[in-house]
């Protein structure tokens, strides 16, 4: 199991920063990296990042870390990220990232100024039955705990999320039980009523 982060940062630029194309409003990068910025090249051989068709050379192939593409542009679009592994027996995995240049809500846009918009996603690569080649690297990598105890993606965050999910789970479960009881009640009532109707119909 290899935890990693994929995502993008976007910073607004002024026209003079980018004389080549004045319509471009942001400078952004999209990347794949370790949770704490570790080098993942022990298992990742290449990252193929597919940008919007309008970019020059929309398919970027990065063979060595940092697995990152930096561009300027004006639009948001979905980026395809394909991760190929050192072990050629492993099939590449594909994930999709929505490039985001502007903050989600209006207030944040107002307050943003020159601050970058950072959208990160935590993800884990799971190697089910890896080959001999890969085992050593994975073992060495996981010898050190990679997820920090505190921080954005930490054991603490995980626990909090689990707690939240547990909480929601119990709420939903309670609601479900309530609904089930209600259903039984309604059906019982319906049954009695139907018996009564049959009785009436017979008269």
């Amino acid at each position: 199991m290899v935890p990693f982060i994929y995502g993008s940062t976007a910073t607004p630029i002024s026209k003079k920063d980018n004389p080549s194309d004045p319509s471009h409003t942001h400078k952004w990068s999209v990347y794949v990296r370790g949770v704490n910025g570790e080098d993942l090249s022990f298992c990742i051989k290449r990252v193929t990042i597919k940008l919007h068709e309008s970019f020059a050379v929309p398919t970027r192939v990065i063979e060595s870390p940092p697995f990152e593409v930096t561009e300027t542009g004006w639009g948001e679009f979905e980026i395809m990220i394909k991760i190929s592994f050192v072990d050629s027996n492993e099939r590449p995995v594909t994930l999709y990232h929505q490039l985001q240049l502007y903050p989600k809500d209006e207030a944040a846009i107002q307050a943003q100024g020159k601050k970058p918009v950072i959208i990160n996603h935590y993800e884990e690569l799971v190697f089910n039955e890896p080959t001999e080649d890969m085992i050593e690297g994975l073992r060495a990598y996981n010898a050190v705990p990679r997820i920090a105890p505190v921080g954005t993606y930490s054991t603490q965050a995980e626990e909090e999320e689990l707690l939240h999910l547990d909480d929601v789970h119990s709420k939903l479960l309670a609601e479900h039980e309530r609904q089930k009881r209600h259903l039984v009640k309604v059906e019982e009532e319906l049954r009695l009523l139907q018996a009564e109707i049959r009785e009436l119909e017979r008269q």
Partner: protein, 514 residues
């Protein structure tokens, strides 16, 4: 290259089909004359052969050949796949082609030379069409007929199945045949005989008199056990069915065998088996056959339709079963959320170890009741099901890819419901534990929505039932016995204006439930 005789290729088209294009006059003449003498010489698709190849054909005419002479060649030569050497010489002068031919092979006449030329051109045309490879289906080798024939003689014979010694004659190829071949068919039925004594000790039957039994056996002997005829001719004291007759005949025979051989004698047992007869079964069989034969055309048609349906069902049954199994599995899986997560997390540094402990656990777990069975089921799922294999690919995959999608029909509502609880489309930190819990929560939300659906449906039915009851009560109140409708307070005063009543009632019920 190969030899193909004209007689075989003649099956492929009309005589002399369009060989003329671009051919030199002499060759064309030779061709027409040979085509006249050997009608049926045909080249497949020869009209497509361009001039160059025609010249090649003439070129070929020079080839030395060691076959028989032309006509025999055209008629009988088998398709030997004999390679021919093509001389690298100059193209021959067309007019001298025949002379060349004669020089090369001792042909008896011009006609055979032409035939041979024809043959050669055939080779070339076919070679041009097939790219020099032997065509696959041109020739068929018939099995060689034997050259000797059997000698048939007129000879006398007798038939041993006959009682008289009538001697006749017939044509036969077998000199030793003295008895007729049909003697084997003349077998006589061996109907047992019994003495009066035997009858008195073993064969008495209250349903049968001795006279009737004797009459039956006489008929059996006379009519060679053809029971349909026997039943027709039987004139006993009482009318009897064919089953009655058969039963009596076989039971008497069995009793006689038992009496004469004893119960333990193997030969006796064998013979008893020969006379086995089960009357009730035979009657049942006849009844069923009669039923089968007396079906009306409509019934037959219906039966055929049903059979067709059955076949269709049987054909689709397999896929149904498979689908059903998958659904069952996924249902079972949903019931076991914490366990689903456990084995899928190769948290140890060596993910290879992951499967081994699972398999090892299997045996001790068997004893641990339902839980063990479920876990084993899940294990099997991981191992067997193609669906599962997709979900747990052997190799690298993303943790979130294991999260099960919500079924489309409930997607919007489920997303909205989960939104209420601040759960998005994807966990914030999709570790193994989180993903498992996340999946569990989502499936629970789906289950909840499904239950809600059922509740809505039941409530609706309840509403309808309430209205129905009210209508009925009103009917009763306004109809024949108004006093009987004392039940609900509403119905009596409003009985007259039923159509206006339902909406307020409906609303009332709704309010009551909410």
């Amino acid at each position: 290259m190969l030899e193909i005789q004209a007689s075989q290729t003649s099956a492929f088209g009309g005589p002399g089909a369009g060989l003329g294009d671009g051919m030199s006059p002499a060759a064309a003449m030779a061709r027409t004359s040979s085509a006249g003498s050997l009608s049926g010489d045909v080249v497949v698709g020869a009209d497509a052969v361009p001039q160059q190849q025609q010249q090649q054909q003439q070129h070929q005419q020079q080839q030395p050949h060691h076959q028989q002479t032309g006509e025999i060649l055209a008629e009988f030569v088998l398709p030997t796949l004999q390679p021919r050497t093509r001389p690298a010489g100059l193209q021959p002068v067309p007019g001298h082609a025949a002379a060349d031919e004669r020089g090369a092979a001792p042909a008896p006449g011009a006609q055979s030379a032409r035939a041979f030329r024809k043959q050669a051109s055939l080779d070339a045309s076919i070679a041009a069409l097939t790219g020099g490879l032997p065509p696959v289906v041109l020739a068929r080798r018939w099995p060689a007929a034997s050259t000797t024939c059997r000698r048939w003689r007129w000879q006398p014979f007798t038939n041993s199945a006959r009682t008289d010694s009538l001697a006749l004659g017939h044509w036969s190829s077998d000199p030793n045949e003295a008895d007729s071949r049909f003697a084997a068919q003349g077998v006589q039925a061996q109907v047992m005989r019994f003495t009066d004594e035997e009858y008195d000790t073993h064969l008495k039957d209250p349903a049968w008199s001795k006279e009737d039994t004797e009459h039956l056996f006489a008929l059996c002997r006379e009519l060679e056990l053809r029971f349909y005829v026997i039943a027709d001719r039987f004139e006993g004291s009482t009318p009897r069915t064919i089953e009655d007759l058969k039963d009596r005949y076989y039971s008497v025979s069995r009793a006689l065998v038992a009496a004469r051989h004893g119960a333990q004698d193997p030969q006796g047992k064998l013979m008893t088996a020969k006379y086995a007869y089960d009357k009730t079964r035979e009657i049942e069989r006849r009844r069923i056959i009669e039923k089968l034969l007396s079906r009306t055309p409509e019934q037959i048609e219906e039966e055929e339709i049903l059979m067709h349906e059955l076949k269709k069902r049987a054909a689709s049954e397999e896929s149904w079963n498979r689908e059903r199994e998958l659904i069952l599995r996924s249902l079972m899986n949903n019931e076991l959320p914490p366990q689903t997560a456990v084995p899928l997390v190769p948290l140890s540094t060596d993910p290879r170890k992951k499967r081994r402990p699972l398999r090892g656990d299997e045996t001790p777990m068997m004893a641990q009741g339902v839980d063990a069975i479920r876990r084993r089921n899940r294990d099997r799922e991981v191992d067997d099901s193609p669906l599962r294999k997709e979900k747990l690919p052997c190799g690298a995959f993303l943790r979130t890819s294991r999260i099960q999608p919500i079924k489309i029909s409930l997607q919007t509502r489920a997303t909205a419901l989960l939104d209420e609880y601040r759960i998005g489309a994807r966990p914030n930190m999709p570790t193994a534990a989180v993903c498992a819990k996340f999946d569990e929560v989502r499936q629970l939300a789906v289950a909840l929505l499904e239950t809600k659906k059922l509740v809505d449906k039941a409530e609706h039915e309840l509403k309808v039932a309430h209205i129905r009851r009210k209508t009925l009560k009103d009917d009763l109140a306004g109809g024949r016995k108004p006093a009987a409708a004392a039940g609900p307070a509403l119905s009596a005063p409003l009985a007259g204006k039923r159509p206006l009543v339902s909406p307020p009632v409906q609303r009332e019920h709704k309010r009551a439930r909410n």
